[in-house]
């Protein structure tokens, strides 16, 4: 595939992520922070997010598996996840966290278990989407092209 084509693909793919709600304006902020002096900023931050999230989700799952669920702890984890996911613009994950917190407040174990599934689902979805996007970017760079500037109005 030639560079131009790849670039167009990249643009379309990115736009679809926004349109489908996987990403929101915050992601654009991250992209704006990337420049020549920090060419891999977005990839770095998102990778950090993935790493951190794996741990968080594990902690969350384990906390919910306890005989007596410590909802405060669960809530703290969810709150943290909400913060980090919103910081990178993972909108659907963030929304799932918001819903999750309501169940925590109600101390509804069943509801929480369902929520954690939902959160995980959204997380893995956006993770794979972003990985696809980054792979595309790498291909473009390898072919000598540059990542186009996104112009999305939010």
């Amino acid at each position: 595939m030639e560079v131009g084509q790849m670039q167009r693909q990249w643009v379309d793919y990115t736009k679809s992520l926004f349109l489908e709600g996987f990403l929101d304006g915050q992601f654009l902020q991250l992209q704006q922070l990337q420049d020549e002096s920090n060419p891999d900023f977005v990839v770095e931050v998102v990778s950090l997010f993935f790493e951190d999230s794996e741990k968080l989700l594990n902690d969350l799952t384990r906390a919910l598996e306890q005989p007596t669920v410590d909802f405060k702890r669960v809530d703290a984890h969810v709150h943290q996840f909400k913060g980090s996911s919103s910081s990178i613009g993972a909108q659907r994950v963030k929304n799932a966290c918001i819903a999750f917190r309501n169940f925590c407040e109600e101390k509804n174990t069943e509801g929480c278990v369902r929520c954690v599934q939902q959160v995980k689902h959204e997380y893995y979805l956006v993770k794979s989407k972003l990985e696809t996007l980054f792979a595309l970017e790498q291909q473009i760079m390898a072919a000598g092209g540059s990542i186009p500037m996104l112009e999305l109005n939010f």
């Binding site: 902020q29 922070l33 900023f41 931050v45 950090l48 910081s87």
Partner: protein
């Protein structure tokens, strides 16, 4: 503006950029601003660091609060501003905030994904100068330098006050304050203030030789000397001047001591407030009081304000208190019962209640005339409450209590009268410093609990607006006690839009509050907060009505802006707002800032104050009670003396039985996180 002075003094270390050294307004400023960012979330930390670097700031990041504290301690003047997350595993962000404020006196910005009003309010009460909602956008960070400048400016003003500055400068201050306060009070307040200033000036002319006030670093040793001096003098008598003398540290000015004293009081209050709070909250002492409140209500509103002002009641709490108070009063019969609520509010431990401090000073400087005419029962109660809070504080508290009581009484009358709303706003001639130093703006003005921190520092201007920066504006105190049974709800003049927004979003806002209330953006937050806090029932929400009375149209400008419905939206578009407004609505009440906002708000909110006072008072009352004992109701910068005089004046004017109203027992500020 004396920024240059302030700034110059600010930068002692060499590391930062050009702006430190002398003129603040250098080409590079705000580039080179030294920021310390603390967050346990690595993703956020990385993003923040990158954003701050993009703003050309010098960034140091750390993921643990303890590390942050040690970094700050090692480099006393190594940082200009701190940004910290609220929820951290090793230490609560608010605790860090307190420590930093006490030890290093740096502006601290809190941030969190949590945009709940109570949390935001907590930030306000703990003295944060701003509150950012995650995800943080770079636009929000671009303007953080303003907090540094503002703080410097306030400190500089302190210096001026002490007489180092020419007469002219000093005059400026009063006039600034005057702007805010209602005309009625203006005259008296100004006079008393001038008089005080002059007295101080002659005394301290020797002390304050330079305009530039170098930042004083309160080392452990220095702090111990300070504490020793305070204990020796006794909380009652611990006035900055005497403390200064006892400490006998060359180069230390009265202002340094005054501001540190305020913080210390807040801190003590907060410590004691927690327990007291628990006790008081839920009390329904208000109920018995209520009956008597009828007349007193106005007083209570005032009290709150006084407390708020002196005690540095966080604007928000003040506002809330006032709101509550106001709300209640409205319910009653149109008569603001801020007293009752207010009292509660004051009782509420509000570390930042500068008011307490102010009171303290007042008492020291003047006989407790304040209590004149005030039903003793109230006093007793208040004192009791205050004592409770004071206990932990020790001697200081006691004193404060007395003052507190007094203040409350003062507040009460004031509250009612007039459109004190101004007070809130105005005092902040400078700008409403967000919580940071000035917390003290107690709701002084009738319920203007909004943080309208009057001048100096109305710290939380954003807060509930209830704060009438009493401290600084003595005018506030002058509320014409006359009577207006309605406490102006101004308390929320908070002009802080942000407050509003937070409130609205909160939803806690009682439905009663009509949309108008929303408009009083300043109010909103406090109301909501108050709701949570209060145990009052719907009364509090009368505030809403009050808020409504707050006629947005009155406000002049900023208020309107704040009222802007969009503001209400808080978080939702906070990000967008953030971009633009420093105050960012989304952010929490803090943005009160803008003195102008307050001013406007105040006017209109005057009315609201009464109502608001109710609620806010509640909170503030508690804090006031606590503060009273200790504290620093007055914004450090100013005023305690002035405040006192103002209060006294008011008393003389016939404060009514406000005292009774101020019943600290009843604080039902359970919700208010201390």
């Amino acid at each position: 503006m004396h920024l240059s002075n302030g700034m110059g003094s600010m930068s002692t270390a060499s590391s930062s950029g050009a702006w430190k050294s002398g003129d603040v307004v250098t080409d590079q400023f705000p580039a080179g601003l030294r920021v310390l960012v603390v967050d346990d979330d690595p993703t956020c930390l990385m993003i923040l660091e990158r954003m701050l670097r993009t703003c050309l700031y010098e960034v140091t990041k750390c993921n643990r609060a303890e590390i942050a504290l040690s970094l700050l301690r090692e480099n006393k003047n190594g940082f200009d501003i701190v940004i910290s997350d609220v929820h951290m595993p090793d230490m609560d962000g608010f605790k860090l905030l307190e420590q930093v404020g006490l030890e290093m006196d740096l502006p601290v910005i809190m941030m969190s994904a949590d945009d709940g009003q109570s949390v935001v309010m907590k930030g306000v009460t703990h003295g944060a100068c701003d509150y950012l909602i995650k995800p943080v956008r770079i636009e929000a960070l671009k303007n953080i330098w303003q907090h540094v400048v503002r703080k410097k400016k306030n400190e500089w003003k302190d210096v001026e006050q002490s007489g180092s500055v020419e007469e002219g400068d000093r005059q400026q201050k009063p006039s600034e304050d005057a702007d805010y306060s209602s005309s009625a009070n203006e005259g008296t307040w100004k006079n008393s203030k001038r008089r005080k200033d002059e007295e101080e000036e002659t005394d301290e002319r020797d002390d304050s030789s330079t305009l530039k006030k170098p930042r004083v670093v309160w080392s452990v040793e220095l702090h111990q000397q300070f504490v020793g001096a305070v204990n020796q003098l006794g909380i009652d008598k611990a006035v900055p001047k005497k403390i200064l003398e006892l400490m006998n540290v060359p180069g230390l000015t009265r202002e340094n001591v005054a501001s540190h004293l305020q913080k210390y009081r807040l801190y003590l209050r907060r410590l004691s407030g927690v327990s007291q709070h628990q006790n008081n909250l839920g009390n329904s002492f208000m109920s018995p009081q209520e009956a008597s409140f009828g007349a007193m209500s106005s007083l209570s509103g005032l009290d709150l304000q006084t407390l708020a002002v002196t005690g540095q009641l966080p604007a928000q709490s003040l506002a809330t208190l006032q709101a509550a108070g106001l709300g209640r009063s409205t319910i009653k019969s149109g008569v603001p019962m801020p007293l009752v609520d207010q009292r509660n509010l004051f009782g509420f431990e509000n570390p930042k209640l500068r008011f307490a401090e102010g009171q303290h000073h007042l008492s020291s400087s003047k006989p407790m005339n304040l209590l004149r005419g005030i039903p003793t029962t109230m006093e007793a109660k208040q004192l009791a409450n205050l004592h409770q809070s004071a206990q932990s504080l020790g001697a200081v508290n006691m004193q404060v209590n007395a003052h507190g009581v007094q203040n409350s009484s003062l507040l009460m009358p004031v509250a009612q009268s007039q459109p004190r709303g101004q007070i809130l706003n105005e005092t902040s001639g400078n700008h409403v410093p967000r919580l940071s130093s000035s917390m003290g703006h107690p709701i002084m003005s009738n319920g203007m609990s909004s943080g309208v921190s009057g001048r100096n520092g109305i710290v939380d201007s954003g807060r509930g607006g209830g704060y009438n920066p009493m401290q600084q504006n003595s005018s506030m105190l002058n509320y014409p006690l006359n009577n207006s049974s309605q406490l102006p709800c101004n308390s929320f003049t908070l002009g802080s839009t942000p407050v509003m927004s937070s409130l609205t979003s909160k939803g806690a806002f009682p439905e009663d509050v009509n949309s108008d209330v929303k408009i009083s953006s300043g109010f909103m937050p406090s109301y909501d907060m108050f709701n949570e806090l209060q145990q009052h029932k719907s009364n509090d929400w009368d505030l809403q009505n009050v808020g409504l009375t707050f006629d947005p149209s009155q406000h002049t400008n900023s208020m309107h802006n704040s009222l802007d419905p969009s503001v209400i939206v808080h978080q939702g578009f906070s990000s967008s707002q953030r971009g633009g407004q420093s105050g960012s609505v989304g952010k929490a009440l803090f943005s009160m800032g803008e003195g102008s906002h307050l001013g406007n708000v105040q006017n209109t909110s005057q009315r609201l104050n009464g109502l608001v006072v109710d609620n806010t008072v509640r909170i503030k009352a508690e804090s006031a009670a606590d503060a009273a004992s200790q504290t620093s109701f007055f914004h450090e910068q100013y005023g305690q003396d002035d405040l006192m005089s103002a209060l006294l004046k008011q008393q003389q004017d016939g404060l009514g039985p406000a005292e009774n109203e101020f019943d600290f027992d009843g604080y039902s500020l359970d919700n208010i996180p201390v």
